[in-house]
Structures are given as structure tokens and as C-alpha cells.
């Protein structure tokens, strides 16, 4: 789509493209005078999402690439496998943040997630017992060994699930790519829970509305900023209810259960990949702990939506007013 924006005497054009990847909807808008350059960039970004969508796919195998499905199902224990440089870097990035988040951000939860999905999809009824969850299989991320030369190895039968990271990771790569070719004015919406913006198209700041995690729309806060990423983790998608309790899809690796510390948390920082890591991590810890936890990161702010409807803001949120 092409839209003309008459801003001053500069005839800036907006080109946009909508993609469906990673079970969600990716919307990209670029603002510039050079339409051809923007169109070419959109096509390249489309290719990036396509490629990572395949690489990170847990459920489908492809003939032409070695992906997560292959690593989970075909790779034998202690067998070495050379993988695509892009997938290696994504695994390396995710693993590094497992250390920094005291194991809260864990991409090896696949076995436990699969057990929960059976209950959510109604194949089994009720809530899994802790014994059943523990017997689902290993969730030890250290069983994924990253060797030299893009080679990996599994020392236990873990199942990788990159659902919590890939979307934000690719969005950040796409933004980096746009900046690298001189297209600094952009807005990337990755599903309903994540936005990344570059410079503004009209010497202003982007206005992004944060809405209530429940459909009542009682809470509406507008965040204003440029070159920021906004990422939410919440309990409102992919959940089921049993006996009045909501069981959502974000699992705490230490308890094997989905926590109920809050309805949602939104992270505002400058990096969409880190935004995914931190929103997941904050969602898994009590709000007071989260307020302390983010102090170690520069330029990271957050908004917590408490279970009782209370909103908590980190100290630096005022700069986005």
C-alpha cells in the first residue's frame, strides 16, 4: 500500500506491507521519499520473517533447511550438527539471556509446554499434576551445547520452543536493516503485543496507545517516543480456564506452572528482542521484584497491570508522557 503524506513541502510517502508469520500479523510502515527503495526494503523484510519463521518452527519440517523441528525430533543425543548461522545466533542470544534472567527466560520448555497444550486443547481435562509436568521431559537449557563453527549438540532430550523470542528478534533485525540502508522512519507492528518505531516521519514523536489487558478498555495510556520498542506479555491470549482459574501459556520454568502475579506487563526499551526477553521475565516474577530487577538495565521501563486492576509504572516512564 502506498500513501502520500503532505508534510510541509517534503512529499514524504508511506509504504506498508502486512505479513502473516509466527502465528501473528506483522505490519510494516516505512516513510521516505524514495518509493522504490522502500518497496525493495519491504520485500527483503518479508524474506527475513519468512526465513526465521521456518528456522524457528517447532511443528513443521522443511526439506531445504535444518530448523527447530529437526533439532527437537531428529537430532540424536550427543550427536553434533552444523546449523544455519542465523539460527545459531538466535540460540546463542536466547541462551545468554537464560543466565541473565536466573533461568526465568528459558527456550527449552517445549516438553512442559506440550503437556499444558494437551489440557488447553481439551485432549486432557483439568490441570496437570506437578508429577506429570516433571515427567514431561527435560527442560534443562544447559543440555543445549553450542560448539564452535555453528555446531550444536544436545546432551539430553530437550525440546526447544522459540515462541517467546523469535518475533521480537526478527523485528529488531528488520529495524537494524532499515537503519543500515538509511530508512530511519518506520513503524513495525508485530502482532497486537509488540511495536518497534524508528524516527518520526514529521519531526514529532510516535504515539502508541497501551490498552487494558482485559477487553473493558478502562486503561488507556499513550506512550510517546522514537526509536523505542514496546512489548507486552500477558495472560489474555492462549489460555484456558478450569475451576475459575485461568491457565495461560507463559510457564515459569521453576514451578512449571503459569504464574498469576499480574494480568500483563509492558516493557519499553530500545530493542525489540530484549523487550521480548524482559517482558517474559517480568511476567514471571512479582511486580515488586520486577521493579528492582529492571534497575540493572539501562533505559528499560515498564508498566505492570495488577490482577486487581492497579497500574504500576517504573520511575522513568515519565519521559514517554
Amino acid at each position: 500500500m502506498l500513501v502520500l503524506l503532505l508534510s510541509g513541502c517534503n512529499h514524504i510517502t508511506m509504504v506498508s506491507k502486512d505479513l502473516s508469520y509466527m502465528n501473528t500479523y506483522i505490519g510494516i510502515k516505512i516513510y521516505n521519499k524514495d518509493t522504490k527503495k522502500m518497496e525493495a526494503a519491504l520485500n527483503n523484510i518479508d524474506k527475513m520473517y519468512t526465513e526465521y519463521d521456518k528456522l524457528a518452527d517447532r511443528y513443521t519440517s522443511y526439506e531445504d533447511i535444518i530448523n527447530i523441528n529437526y533439532i527437537n525430533n531428529k537430532l540424536g543425543i550427543n550427536e553434533r550438527l552444523k546449523i544455519d548461522d542465523k539460527l545459531y545466533k538466535l540460540l546463542d542470544y536466547s541462551k545468554r539471556y537464560n543466565d541473565q534472567t536466573n533461568n526465568l527466560f528459558n527456550i527449552a520448555l517445549g516438553n512442559v509446554i506440550d503437556t499444558w497444550v494437551q489440557y488447553r486443547d481439551g485432549i486432557k481435562t483439568g490441570v496437570p499434576s506437578i508429577t506429570e509436568l516433571k515427567n514431561s521431559g527435560s527442560i534443562d537449557i544447559n543440555a543445549l551445547v553450542l560448539l564452535e563453527d555453528n555446531t550444536i549438540m544436545k546432551t539430553a532430550d530437550i525440546s526447544l520452543d522459540l515462541g517467546a523470542i523469535t518475533k521480537g528478534y526478527v523485528t529488531e533485525l528488520a529495524a537494524d536493516y532499515l537503519d543500515s540502508i538509511g530508512l530511519h522512519q518506520y513503524l513495525i507492528t508485530a502482532g497486537s503485543s509488540s511495536v518497534k518505531v524508528g524516527n518520526h516521519y514529521d519531526n514529532d514523536r510516535y504515539k502508541i496507545k497501551l490498552t487494558d489487558p482485559r477487553p473493558t478498555n478502562k486503561y488507556n495510556k499513550i506512550v510517546k517516543g522514537n526509536n523505542i520498542a514496546i512489548t507486552t506479555s500477558g495472560d489474555y491470549e492462549r489460555y484456558y480456564e478450569y475451576d475459575g482459574v485461568r491457565y495461560h501459556h507463559v510457564i515459569n520454568p521453576n514451578t512449571l506452572f503459569p504464574p498469576n502475579h499480574m494480568l500483563a506487563v509492558t516493557v519499553i526499551n530500545d530493542d525489540a528482542a530484549l523487550g521480548e526477553v524482559l517482558s517474559t521475565t517480568l511476567f514471571l516474577m512479582p511486580i515488586e521484584d520486577g521493579l528492582e530487577y529492571i534497575k540493572q538495565y539501562d533505559g528499560v521501563e515498564a508498566v505492570w497491570y495488577g490482577t486487581d486492576g492497579t497500574i504500576t509504572l517504573s520511575k522513568g516512564m515519565s519521559k514517554y508522557e
Binding site: 502465528n23 505490519g27 507492528t189 497486537s192 502508541i208 496507545k209 477487553p215 489474555y236
Partner: protein, 121 residues
């Protein structure tokens, strides 16, 4: 009544009608919704009416039941594993498309100038 009275009444009426027209243009929000199946436009729905209306669209997994009211739209029922579409509830902004991926159905709203650039839930 003399000539001046008629003139005055006419002026008042013109102002009144203009005000009404301008007001309805300004409050014009979500006027139309576009429903896509597999990236093809399959239905255009007028959202300017006040009463509740129901539409049924053929989705990949089965019927997708859509409800509309003045300036807003929602998916009421769908055949899908997670029902993300119906859970999304009423939508009245062009910035929040309703996306039913398992059914390959996308609903977008056309609205006049938005106050924000994006919405994050």
C-alpha cells in the same frame, strides 16, 4: 414576517444544517469494515447504522460470525483452537485489525484520522 425575518430564518437554518453536517463528519469514525479471506476482499460492511447486525463469512475451518454496531465490529463465533478473534472483542480502530489466522480471515476497519500511530495490548 418581513424579508429580513425570512433571511434570518434562512441563515439560522443554513448554520444549523452546516453544523449538523460538520458534526457528523467530525464524529465520523469507523465507517466501513473490510473482510478478507486468504488476502482477497470478500465483504465490505457499512458501520454507520445503530442497530446490531450479524454477518457470516466462510472461513478455512468453518463459519466466522461477525457482529457490527455503530462504528464497531467483532467476531462473535469462530471455529478455531484458541478463539483469539472472538476474545479480542469489539474493535473500532484501523490500528487493531481482527486477524483469524486459522480461518484465514482478516477484518480491517477504515476510520478517519487516528489519534495514535499504534496500539499495544
Amino acid at each position: 414576517m418581513n424579508k429580513h425575518d425570512y433571511l434570518l430564518i434562512s441563515i439560522v437554518m443554513i448554520i444549523g444544517v452546516s453544523f449538523f453536517i460538520i458534526n457528523s463528519l467530525v464524529s465520523f469514525k469507523a465507517s466501513k469494515a473490510y473482510v478478507y479471506y486468504d488476502n482477497e476482499l470478500v465483504q465490505t460492511i457499512d458501520l454507520s447504522h445503530d442497530n446490531l447486525k450479524e454477518y457470516t463469512i466462510k472461513g478455512y475451518n468453518g463459519d466466522v460470525v461477525i457482529e457490527t454496531m455503530k462504528n464497531k465490529i467483532r467476531v462473535k463465533e469462530e471455529t478455531s483452537p484458541l478463539h483469539l478473534c472472538s476474545k479480542q472483542g469489539w474493535v473500532s480502530s484501523s490500528l487493531e485489525p481482527i486477524v483469524c489466522l486459522p480461518n484465514k480471515v482478516v477484518i480491517r476497519i477504515e476510520s478517519s484520522k487516528e489519534e495514535v500511530d499504534a496500539v499495544v495490548r
